[in-house]
Amino acid sequence: MDFNFTEEQSMIRDSLARLIREQYDFETRRSVVESDAGWRPEMWAQFAELGLLMAPFSEEDGGLGGGAIDAMVVMEEFGKGLVVEPFVPSVVCGGGFLKHAGSVAQKEEYLAGIMSGEQIFAFAWAEPKGRYNYADLETTARKDGAGFVLNGHKAVVIGAPWASHFVVTARTAGDRRDRAGVSAFIVAKDAAGVTTRDYPTVDGRRASEVYFENVALSSEHLIGEVDGALSLVERVGDEATAALCAEACGAMGVAHAQTVEYSRTRKQFGVPIGKFQVLQHRMVDMFMEHEQSISMTYMATLKLDEPEIERKKAVSAAKVRIGQAGRLVGQQAVQIHGGMGMTEELAVGHYFKRITMVDSEFGNVDYHLKRYTDLCAAEMAVAAE
């Protein structure tokens, strides 16, 4: 048993932290997210140069031989810097599908591009009426000879404005919420019949509604089994969730540290407000929630390759605890900053926004509690038999 990072992982952390410190300060980020593009492709190129985009892939696949822990290290630093560039959509999700289920030809065509940063993937799974259920799909891919015809509308596809490709989930058989009958496809954004409507998100990122109208796909676009991709989708979803947990941990840590620092300098009634015990204890509670969030993120990440039930329980438990911790840490960070915490000028409010929005990505507290209790019930039923 060992919770220490390897030398390579520490190096990734340190060099990424330095890069963010030097080129991703709060004011720069503010002007970038308000710009037309909303991101910096040159930052993405630098991330690629540092090796971040290839860190979580095996050497066999052309990567650096790391895995989910490397992605966790990257995303914690992204969280600290409120980095908007699409590591989770492209590397964790797009790369995850290819890593687990890509054919040799698909890996050749796409994975190298993801790792070099020249191709950017976004994960188009959510739908306006599907809530967090991966199987609740109105998007369809009708079988048509050897190929498929894709129709549907995907909602809030994070990073889509910057993407070159999508992984799209669609129903190829069965009824709307059936577990069977789900397939996943790689779809180029410039394919005929693909349109997007781009917008900013409240936490400074970019996303799109993505529409597919009679998009013709061949079996080469299929990733994973036809009609049987749900388990793969869930696995990649869990990996993305764990990476988001790491991002939230990074952001919570900064929000907390800034709050403690502010309480040391802000004076009222002639003393720094950090001298007030009621605020001290609240900041200690924030500290404890943050620490336990880190622990849960480690656990979830370490269990990503365990059997399905164990993996899902660990990821759901982490997402629930981090959702709850995020509420406390984010809200109290603003509260303790007082009126200043309400302004856009201070970073803390931007951290609060990002921490808040993590909860409703890939399933919120309620969704993951339900998933967890259902898994427990399933385990009990198995044990009873």
Partner: protein, 407 residues
């Protein structure tokens, strides 16, 4: 990063499990299931501790030269985890984990030779004299006096919240030997027998409603008690505060999560026996959600404890993290007793003073409620102690504000 134990560690774990299966006999298990406080009666407690001793498991943290088993940090962790997971009684800590490390570090050779062997074998029962009616969280303001008279101290004053003092053969006490300088500077650390003239023990029955003679805490009075300085004084006079702080790091430090899992598994058992409508309570959406949230809280603490343990094994110093574990662990314990109280419903109203009565041979085992409900409400009330003792959780938060946040 790696979660798994090595094959050798797994083999040790299997050994420990097999031993517990055998040594933790049905009579002890039955009694423990009905305990309101987490302890057995004196006889049961000594029986269990002597079995641990015979197997070398009573004092995993002791150095080998004093009879410790020489386990690796991971083996110690596994041992603690397995003992907690099986719900075995806690070893009464005042001897093995509290006074013994102080004697080892600061006692003279005669004191070590006299005290350490019978602590290890559970032949001498110790209690702790720290808190006083006027000195709780502010421990350094303690007033019990020790006045030199020839080669003796004369002791006057009183100690309170003294755990299981009615069973104790010896006590270790913080006493005031000087009123000059800062309050911390006039404190000494004494050890002496409980059967000396002038010592009296008054039971303080707590909210769990203990049976006669089984109260968890007491007040102890000292009236002109005479003790020999040579044998009683540990280390130097007026240095007791240093030793007391040294002891604190042993008072806290064990992992909570394994024991919490055991507590929660009992709630699950209750909830699968209790009905709500046509289904067992455990299938009720609201209650199963609470169980799931509790389980996640435990897993978060577990992961945190493993991280701390891993840092410790790697030789890093662990300081205020123990305050975090104490807060999170004790608050989780309380929350689980609360869930249990919810789970038993109306059956929780029935008060059974002697929760071991129906287990005795020839006793009338006919209870007016399910047996599992007997200790539930008493435990809920009893466990309010956990956020108060060993440095209240407010004090722990003060420590973290100072040591971690630098406020």
């Amino acid at each position: 990063m790696e979660l798994a134990f090595t094959p050798e560690e797994r083999a040790f774990q299997a050994d420990v499990r097999a031993w517990i299966d055998e040594a933790y006999t049905p009579d002890l298990r039955a009694k423990m299931a009905m305990s309101k406080t987490g302890y057995l009666d004196r006889e049961g407690q000594i029986t269990w501790q002597k079995r641990l001793h015979a197997r070398g498991f009573i004092a995993p943290n002791w150095p080998e030269k004093y009879g410790g088993p020489g386990l690796t940090p991971t083996q110690k962790y596994i041992l603690h985890m397995e003992l907690s997971a099986a719900g075995t009684p806690s070893v009464v800590p005042m001897g093995v984990s509290m006074v013994a490390p102080v004697i080892m570090a600061f006692g003279n050779e005669a004191q070590k030779a006299q005290h350490l062997p019978p602590i290890l074998s559970s032949d001498i029962w110790w209690c702790q004299g720290y808190s006083e009616p006027g000195a709780g969280s502010d421990l350094a303001s303690l007033q019990m006096s020790a006045v030199r008279d020839g080669d003796e101290y004369v002791l006057n004053g009183s100690k309170i919240w003294t755990t299981l003092a009615q069973h104790a053969d010896w006590i270790f006490c913080l006493v005031r030997t000087s009123r000059e300088g800062k309050p911390q500077e006039g404190i000494s650390f004494l050890v002496f027998p409980m059967d000396l003239p002038g010592i009296s023990v008054r039971p303080l029955p707590t909210l769990d409603g203990p049976m006669e003679g089984e109260q968890e805490i007491n007040q102890v009075f000292f009236e002109d008690v005479r003790v020999p300085i040579e044998a009683s004084l540990i280390g130097e006079e007026n240095k007791g505060w240093t030793y007391a702080k040294y002891l604190l790091q042993f008072e806290r430090g064990n992992a909570y999560a394994p024991g919490l899992r055991n507590m929660l598994s009992k709630v699950r058992k209750i909830a699968s026996r209790e009905q709500i409508g046509d289904v067992p309570l455990i299938q009720d959406a609201d209650f199963s959600r609470k169980l799931a949230e509790m389980e996640m809280r435990i897993e978060a603490l577990n992961a945190t404890e493993l991280r701390i343990f891993s840092a410790l094994s790697a030789g890093e110093a662990v300081g205020p993290e123990s305050s975090m574990v104490k807060c999170a662990g004790s608050e989780a314990q309380q929350a689980i007793t609360e869930l249990a109280l919810e789970a038993v419903g109306q059956a929780g109203h029935v008060f059974v003073r002697d929760s071991w009565a129906h287990l005795r041979e020839g006793a009338n085992a006919d209870l007016p409620m399910p047996e599992y409900a007997v200790p539930v409400a008493p435990s809920y009330f009893n466990y309010r102690k956990t956020s108060i003792y060993a440095g209240s959780n407010e004090i722990q938060r003060n420590i973290m504000a100072k040591m971690v946040l630098g406020l």
